[in-house]
Symmetry: D2
Subunit: 264 residues, 4 copies
């Protein structure tokens, strides 16, 4: 199975970058599934049903989220009825939507799990225990399991990689918006990278206007953050897994720039 | 000017990796200066004068530190008299040691500044203002300025890159122990990468034993952390700057593995 | 000198409580000066010039603020020209307004200093060093010095009490909105209490609607917080100081309830 | 039922204060049960079996703990077999010991629950949900329920009071070591106070040596904290409940000083 996962898409610049780059990526990698993290798709804060629909139209099979899941109110109802959108599984019981889903296409099926870290982030249920419960719940015959671990601290993310090594096909981090250069296949067959990085303006800070972010750090005064409109960069990861065993066989980082059209 | 900067060296595995790799790196890059971050050199926590001396013996020109600067008591006296070791400059006035230094060799000179972030870290003085003051203090004729920004949050690090773009030759992050894949030269000539990554066991979590780290996340009980003894990986960055202007002209990530001896 | 200090006034319920209770308090305590913390006066978030003016009309001599200082935009201009309103002094240099002021009435004068803690709060300049600098700046003949230390952690607040013992007439905490039962005069003559408590609905949580706060803790979802409209309680502190030495001679807690009209 | 609850006992000064004051308190209040928080009893960090046994000898019926529960290793085994010692119930499943207990004496029985907050504290399971589960597990005929909520933030503690109003006889906070002046009986019959305060040196900071704490705040360098040896203060709360309904009928703050021997 071939999987393309693309990191946090930030604002309209990020959405445009995704739209323009997806045809090229599909042609190059012929992925069985495309998954994207959409928590910042709406101006940096949350996602709307309309944006989600456009992602599906462009070929996205599943959208994961994170701490910004709930920034747009329309998502509360939408997420209840849309099996292709998941939010972190370790929100408390009773939270709208689901924390994992099984997507199927062309005779293949993939479990996608979204889970959120707690270090430097709000206190959800234990991600390490929650992901254990989900994996136990999954049908035994389902071998290919992809985990988007939305977390801040490198220690928590790497620990999750080891935690799931041999039990998930891939554990891939999101949330810091900066791609890390540590893609690897762990000893028991789990593809791992600490963060896939973002899609959006590379002239801002994490996709937001840099003058506002700098003003915040310099003054500690309230500042309004808007998505930046500079030239984009796009980050993701390409993963191959063995369908029979679910073991990862390849992981490659994707990094593309608008101005260089350095399509790899 | 050619500069080699190598990230947080963790424990004896990290020190061994540095010792074994430096001859190769010197031959390959013929750097004018070699700088390393040593805050985790002593079993993951701090650094001793003996370790520092061995680093100088191997060809290191300057050691930067971070939040672990003070973990070994012997360093308090040592740092007062050793101009080749610096600790974050934004510790309060009166803190032992210095926050920047000027190193000279072969007719070249380089200012090295160490500064620490405050997001998810203890409340030091403002790093953005402190670094401004230091740059103003430096002799005008000194063009090549290297900044090790020891910080957790990607937002704060990228903001520092923009803050210093055109005023420092390079702004390079440390502390998260995971190399990021965003090395770039910013528009006004500052080489930047969010984190250079670490040197030490790649079989642990940030260089420490993974079973202990996982136990901590799973149980929230007190756990003793020791440096891991697995095979190493080594991360750093190679930077070229124009001596006359101080502008960066090249930045390359270094990533080497013990078992692959993939010296490239 | 007799001083009445009243803690964080929250929303319209808090303002009404202040208005109704001040005549009684003035008659009972005949204070030389009345100081109030106004950071939550406007619906729980910040303060407006209009609200400030009404406070002055009712007999308030000085308004202190805190981490909510800047929630209402109108305050940025207003605070520049209003010497009777101060914000935490350890915001970065260049922040609008002032961090301390000297108020005079009936031949008496009092320095009022506002300072903010950093534990569990944003990273401002060091409050312990900043308050030292301010006290050094004050005219030597000015003996009566009141400090509103707006901070979260009991350790930081008590440490500030000891830090200033003998140098300030009173160190009084705000921000947690709950009055503490540890009013004392420290050995060198500084009146101290960890927190004076708030003014506003006692049926909410810190003056805000309790259903919203509980929903936040239970769900970790975004929740809109509004000031509660329940019956009020009012908390403050009454302090006497010796004009010649600036030493405190008395400190009494004030706690009043709307429904009990238990005016003492 | 008459209950005496005494807050965090810090070090040998705190233990001595407890030993000396208990006879007086027993005589004055004739409590059916005495419960103390012991998380800081051993030099400020944790508790040993020996200390616990001395507390039982002096008449303590149950010991609650908190974030310092595990600072002394001997406690891991001891807590498994000692039903009179409980640790926060919302530690992960599998944690040694229990989170609540039922103590019986003279024909009366009391459930004691220990729970820990998450705001500004490590990420345990949700305290609001965990306490719900415990209360559902308790036998219906058991009416008197005492909750020690070990938490930092006033908002979380007050929210817990409202959460349990009418379902617990008393919700009493610990951890900040400073007694709050907000003791009340909530509308549905739950006695509440945000923090009962500590027992130990009143000349330190939260019972620890003040010079060390101040040095930490001023320098941000590593500092060793020891329990202070100054004169003590003792804080607690006296609560009466109706045995048939479990509703609280009275709550009184206790505050005693060594030097004033102001036994009330
Ligand atoms: Fe994101
Ligand atoms: Fe995020
Ligand atoms: Fe480090
Ligand atoms: Fe560090
Ligand atoms: Fe505040
Ligand atoms: Fe407030
Ligand atoms: Fe405690
Ligand atoms: Fe505690």
């Amino acid at each position: 199975m071939k999987l393309l996962f693309i990191g946090d898409i930030v604002g309209s610049v990020g959405r445009d970058a995704l739209k323009k780059t997806l045809p090229y990526l599909k042609q190059k990698y012929t992925p069985d599934f495309i998954v994207v993290n959409g928590e910042n798709a709406a101006a940096g804060k949350g996602i709307t049903p309309e944006i989600a629909k456009s992602f599906y139209d462009w070929g996205v099979d599943c959208i994961t989220l994170g701490n910004h899941s709930w920034d747009k109110k329309e998502i509360f109802d939408y997420i209840e009825d849309e099996p292709r959108m998941i939010r972190p599984a370790n929100f408390p019981e009773g939270t709208p939507g689901r924390g994992y889903t099984i997507i199927k296409k062309g005779g293949k099926e993939l479990a996608v799990i979204n889970i959120q870290g707690r270090t430097f982030l709000p206190p959800l249920d234990c991600p390490f225990q929650k992901v254990n419960h989900i994996i136990e719940e999954l049908p035994l015959k389902l071998k290919c399991i992809f985990v988007d671990f939305h977390a801040e601290a490198t220690s928590e993310k790497i620990a999750m990689g080891w935690h799931l090594d041999g039990r998930a096909s891939a554990v891939v981090g999101t949330h810091t918006h900066v791609q890390t250069h540590d893609e690897t296949i762990l000893p028991s067959g789990t593809a791992y990278v600490t963060d896939v990085g973002m899609v959006g303006s590379k002239e801002g800070v994490l996709g937001m206007e840099r003058t506002a972010v700098l003003r915040k750090f310099m003054t500690q005064l309230p500042v309004r953050f808007n998505a930046d409109t500079g030239k984009w960069h796009l980050h993701g990861v390409y993963i191959e897994m063995d369908d029979a065993s679910g073991k990862a066989t390849k992981i490659r980082l994707l990094r593309h720039y608008e101005d260089e059209v350095r399509f790899d």
